[in-house]
């Protein structure tokens, strides 16, 4: 019975954490890259562009933009309040300081959300590139195991292509006997040759030479992952900064509370006189 209770409690607790986590995730928005598998063949630079475009269409990007605008507004409001502080009376100054602290608190909240969203973006991007790394590794492993066969096949293709003209010569006298495939093959082969030439001449083709080699592609993807890692560590530093900012705001709030309390005490001392002390009521009796 005890065990059942314990299991029941565990299920409730894990369920609670799960719901909290999913709630947090939904509130900040999500980004699941909608990239087709064929896109993995793209050179890393283009892949990065496609990935960024995909991100820009996501809810997370929209939320990030909204949070960014909110933060800008808060900063503007805080600086405006700071400028108002100079010419304000004591009571007004207290109210302005109060507003400044509230805005600073909201700024920290928004900034923290923004950093979480940025972190989410970088984490998704990192896992995407890691997946590509895994794909490249698997492909190169397959290539290694099949390398002998692929070499033989490549040689066969070369040998076959080199005697294409001989085949044409030998069949020219009996073209009527050739099959439909034979005629189509010749036509398509010529078209493919033309297209290959066009690809070779294309200016972008030369730029992609680096990305065609799996080793270079791997290196480029590794660089992207490294850059993402550095961005994540910078974000961590910013998170630490936000923690310190929060501490300062808390201290400011405490000092303002003390200031208000001190003023109230002073005011009380002025307004209300302690009549329980006979010294304070002497005037009543002497006049």
């Amino acid at each position: 019975m005890k065990n059942i209770n314990l299991r029941f409690i565990l299920i409730i607790i894990t369920g609670f954490f799960y719901s909290v986590a999913s709630f947090a995730n939904n509130s900040l928005g999500e980004w699941k890259p909608q990239i087709v598998e064929k896109m993995y063949l793209l050179p890393p630079k283009h892949l990065n562009k496609v990935l960024n475009n995909d991100f820009n269409k996501s809810i997370l990007a929209l939320n990030l933009q909204t949070a960014d605008n909110k933060i800008k507004d808060r900063i503007e409001k805080i600086s405006e309040l700071n400028s108002m502080l100079k010419g304000a009376s004591k009571n007004e100054a207290l109210e302005i300081k109060h507003q400044i602290i509230i805005n600073k608190r909201d700024y920290i909240k928004d900034m923290s959300n923004l950093l979480t969203m940025k972190r989410q973006k970088l984490d998704t991007k990192k896992s995407f590139f890691q997946k590509i790394q895994k794909n490249i590794r698997n492909t190169s492993l397959n290539r290694k195991t099949n390398s002998e066969f692929l070499n033989n096949k490549k040689n066969a293709l070369k040998r076959a292509e080199s005697i294409d003209f001989k085949i044409l010569d030998s069949t020219s006298h009996s073209l009527s006997k050739t099959s439909k495939y034979f005629k189509q093959y010749q036509l398509n082969k010529n078209a493919v040759k033309k297209l290959k030439l066009a690809i070779q001449k294309h200016p972008m083709s030369n730029k992609n030479i680096l990305s065609k080699d799996p080793k270079n592609k791997m290196e480029a993807v590794k660089n992207y992952v490294h850059n993402i890692d550095t961005e994540i560590s910078v974000l961590e530093m910013k998170e630490e900064m936000i923690n310190y900012m929060a501490k300062i705001v808390a201290l400011d709030a405490m000092s303002l509370a003390e200031e208000v309390a001190f003023d109230a005490q002073n005011q009380n001392e002025i307004v209300s006189t302690n009549y329980n002390d006979p010294v304070n009521v002497i005037s009543v009796f002497t006049n």
């Binding site: 066969f149 692929l150 033989n152 096949k153």
Partner: protein
């Protein structure tokens, strides 16, 4: 009733398993075997053989081209496929004969070891 279901299951599984999953190498191999059979067939005349070989050659050429250009066999090639590409001259007889400018029969006989030199160097002995 139970027996009927059992029989149906066996028949269905047999049909499903026996569905031809033709590989381009297998088709090529079948046509190659037919051509070689034709070369070795003594029951037909020389003229008939030449005529039929011409047709067979064209079909074999198409199948060889299809196999060489088939990209599907690159993924997980089986033992037969690997061996076929290892022995280009023996597998792609028409291509090889055009490349070396020799008849298919000569190419095949040479590759399996029946060269004129080999035959000339043999002598009849009694064991």
């Amino acid at each position: 009733m139970l027996n009927l279901i059992k029989n149906l299951t066996v028949i269905l599984s047999f049909i499903i398993c026996s569905q031809a999953n033709a590989n381009s190498i297998d088709t090529l191999e079948r046509e190659r075997a037919k051509t070689l059979n034709l070369i070795l067939d003594k029951s037909i005349s020389i003229g008939e053989r030449k005529k039929r070989l011409e047709i067979s050659k064209m079909r074999l050429l198409d199948l060889e081209r299809m196999t060489i250009n088939d990209k599907n066999i690159n993924k997980n090639p089986n033992h037969r496929t690997i061996k076929a590409f290892k022995n280009f001259d023996l597998t792609f007889l028409v291509h090889s004969s055009l490349e070396k400018e020799k008849p298919i029969s000569v190419i095949w006989l040479e590759k399996i070891g029946f060269t004129t030199e080999n035959l000339m160097s043999t002598r009849v002995t009694r064991k």
